[in-house]
């Protein structure tokens, strides 16, 4: 027997329900989207905010971490738009085409939409949602019941809609710059859709930032579909302000003979949850799923992923690294699922944490769920302090303690970042690592 006992609503849950009611007029139209939102919000109402007894959220008790829900962000005014101009510049060297979302709203005047590469189209999700036939693809398996995704569906306002035509190679990377510039705490629910046709190629950067001292909340979803023989290099950078709550979900599917590379780099935010659901739907596809987190103070960052091998002959590699200082906490939950017919699956997953202080914490839960018999799969996890023998070797060569530590931390993160195909992106991330280390003193 399965008895569901719902506790009383928390303040945050109540505020979300109030917001859904208050914005009903806007959210209910058009009818098809309205129905989608209703169903999604009903799922949220049934479960409430996830807490530690919900397996997928075991280490990130959102009910405890999200004390209150802040008001939905209003459309950005002139000042808020102006303040967004310099966002995402840390990675300018990549020469990417900028698509700017201010407080979750697509800002064409800040975006670079001129001379689009042949085969590339860019639009706003708000336009799509306003059309009666503006369907939004459903979430793939692992996350269709997820509370954060449900909330996003219920409240999503805008985002980018990007399509790459079959056979098109988009030479210039795209950069979705998500920035919060509001003056008072607000909640942003953005969703972007990216469709990469058969034989098409693209590099997509996604960065998130906002004010250092504002308790804003971001719930962002990126839905990616890569066709047969498509190649996508995706890098997400979380540089949110120090009081921000960021829940970002990547839902990706890939066809046959495709190459899907995704990397999530977390350096900012008070509470960060990056969730990834990747479904390999076509044979002989290779997926590289990686991440690195640099955490200090009381930061909490959770990378939770499910890589679903739905068909035979696919390869996936998952490598996540975290550097944890102060009282910070890093969480890794990774699962490789191998469906009954997915023979010859090759999947390897690893999570490594470097703990820089006594009170730093790292939790790792790598899992394999294998229903096929002819597969090669493995996982591992390590957590520990910097190796004293290594440090001594460096110091014996004249390198002072802090510099020796920095060298080792850089090397540790560098091994993960190395997997990113775009050199300028790698460079920008390693610059960020240097900056983080410099601030460590």
């Amino acid at each position: 027997m399965n008895v569901e006992i719902r506790q009383m609503r928390t303040a945050a849950e109540q505020a979300l329900a109030d917001a859904f009611a208050r914005h009903k007029d806007r959210l209910a139209k058009p009818a098809a989207i309205g129905a989608l939102r209703e169903a999604a919000f009903a799922r949220f109402e049934a479960s409430g905010l996830p807490h530690r007894r919900v397996e997928e959220w075991k280490y990130t008790d959102l009910r405890a971490l999200m004390r209150e829900a802040v008001p939905l962000a209003a459309p950005p005014d002139t000042n808020e738009r102006a303040r967004a101009r310099e966002a995402g510049r840390f990675i300018d060297e990549a020469g990417a085409r900028r698509i700017v979302l201010v407080n979750g709203v697509f800002a064409p005047e800040l975006s670079d939409l001129s001379d689009l590469d042949p085969g590339l189209t860019i639009g706003a999700l708000a336009d799509r949602l306003s059309r009666a036939d503006g369907a939004v693809p459903g979430a793939p398996g692992a996350l269709d019941e997820d509370t954060a995704v449900s909330l996003n569906t219920a409240f999503m306002g805008d985002g980018a809609v990007i399509a790459v035509a079959p056979g098109a190679t988009i030479g210039r990377p795209l950069h979705i710059v998500s920035v919060v510039t509001a003056a008072s705490p607000c909640a942003v629910f953005a969703r972007s859709l990216v469709d990469i046709g058969n034989d098409a190629q693209m590099t997509l950067i996604e960065s998130h930032e906002g004010p250092a001292d504002l308790a804003y909340q971001v719930n962002s979803v990126l839905q990616l579909a890569a066709g047969d023989k498509a190649r996508l290099d995706h890098v997400k950078v979380v540089r949110e302000g120090g009081r921000a709550l960021h829940i970002g979900t990547l839902m990706a599917t890939a066809g046959a003979d495709a190459a899907l590379n995704t990397f999530v780099f977390t350096v900012g935010g008070a509470v960060v949850r990056n969730q990834l659901a990747i479904v390999l739907n076509g044979e002989r596809t290779e997926a590289h799923v990686g991440g690195a987190s640099l955490l200090r103070g009381s930061q909490h960052a959770d990378n939770t992923l499910v890589v679903d091998h739905a068909v035979p002959h696919c390869t996936s590699r998952e490598v996540f690294k975290s550097v944890v200082d102060g009282d910070a906490r890093s969480v890794f939950q990774g699962k490789i699922v191998v469906r009954p017919n997915a023979q010859k699956t090759d999947g390897k997953m690893a999570a490594h944490a470097l703990l820089l202080s006594e009170s730093a914490e790292a939790d790792a839960k790598p899992e394999l769920e294998i229903f096929a018999d002819d597969v090669v799969c493995g996982h591992g996890a390590t957590a520990g302090a910097l190796d004293g023998e290594l440090l001594f070797y460096l110091k014996a060569r004249g390198i002072p303690q802090k510099q020796a530590e920095a060298l080792m931390i850089e090397a540790f993160v560098g091994e993960a970042v190395e997997g990113i195909a775009n050199g300028a992106v790698r460079e920008a991330l390693m610059q960020t690592v240097s900056g983080w280390l410099a601030a460590r003193g």
């Binding site: 460096l394 110091k395 004249g398």
Partner: protein, 250 residues
């Protein structure tokens, strides 16, 4: 005196390893230290380099007349102490080139000297590496990762050549080397011999001392120097072994 070790007592985890060791080394000299396994040779080397795990319970180490016991390993290195490790450490993710450059510039900075320019640095590395028959590919690889035993030892000598220490301690640098590599490494050491620089060569084998001819040979047993002589002492030991010294020290 470049190095003076006086009545040195060292413990690790409450276990006494060095028991009143005395040793004095003048600049320009090569001292060989031989002794049975477990007698404390590597311990001495580590304590000189400043490894924190060891507790000095008595005695002192003077380098250039100054006690170094309170100095961190990097400070000792900047003053000219160098240890070639018996078991060189692998450093994943740090290219040998980066490592050499970081170390050299850190030492120069500590001594108040300016950083070496990129062309100057590259010229010096290439020259030093060439003489030790270390190829460019190895310099690009992570420090010691995937290096053969002999390559690791040669890499230690390369570091020594780049850092130009006043006192170099070579802990069994000959072990694991084939005959050709032994020659290359010995020549590398001999090239660095100068009136200002001294060496402590720790070894089990007389053969190394045919190439690097020592001025003084010591026998270390049970944490003390129990016998000191000229280079002929190494030959005697080769013939008679350590039995007599172990019982003497006991």
């Amino acid at each position: 005196m470049l190095l003076e070790i006086k009545n040195l007592h060292v413990e690790i985890d409450g276990k006494k390893i060095l028991n009143g060791l005395d040793l004095a080394i003048e600049q320009g000299k090569v001292h060989a230290i031989m002794g049975p396994n477990g007698s404390g040779k590597s311990t001495l080397a580590y304590v000189l380099a400043g490894k924190e795990d060891y507790a000095v319970t008595e005695g002192d180490i003077l380098f250039n007349g100054e006690s170094v016991l309170d100095l961190d390993p990097d400070e000792r290195a900047a003053r000219g102490l160098f240890l070639a490790f018996q078991y060189p450490i692998e450093i994943p993710g740090v290219a040998t080139m980066t490592f050499l450059r970081t170390a050299l510039n850190a030492q120069r900075k500590a001594r108040g000297e300016g950083e070496l320019s990129t062309p100057d640095f590259l010229k010096r590395v290439r020259e030093a590496a060439g003489k030790l028959e270390i190829n460019q590919d190895m310099l690009r690889r992570a420090v010691n990762v995937g290096f053969s035993g002999g390559e690791k030892k040669r890499n230690e000598i390369l570091q020594m050549a780049m850092l130009e220490p006043r006192l170099a301690v070579l802990d069994e640098t000959d072990s694991g080397l084939d005959i050709d590599a032994l020659k290359i490494v010995s020549e590398g050491v001999n090239r660095l011999r100068s009136p200002e620089r001294a060496f402590i060569v720790i070894t089990h084998y007389q053969r190394l001392l045919d190439y690097i001819v020592p001025d003084v040979v010591h026998v270390l047993s049970r944490g003390r120097i129990v016998k000191t002589g000229g280079k002929e002492l190494a030959l005697e030991l080769e013939a008679s072994g350590y039995a007599q010294y172990q019982s003497e020290a006991a």
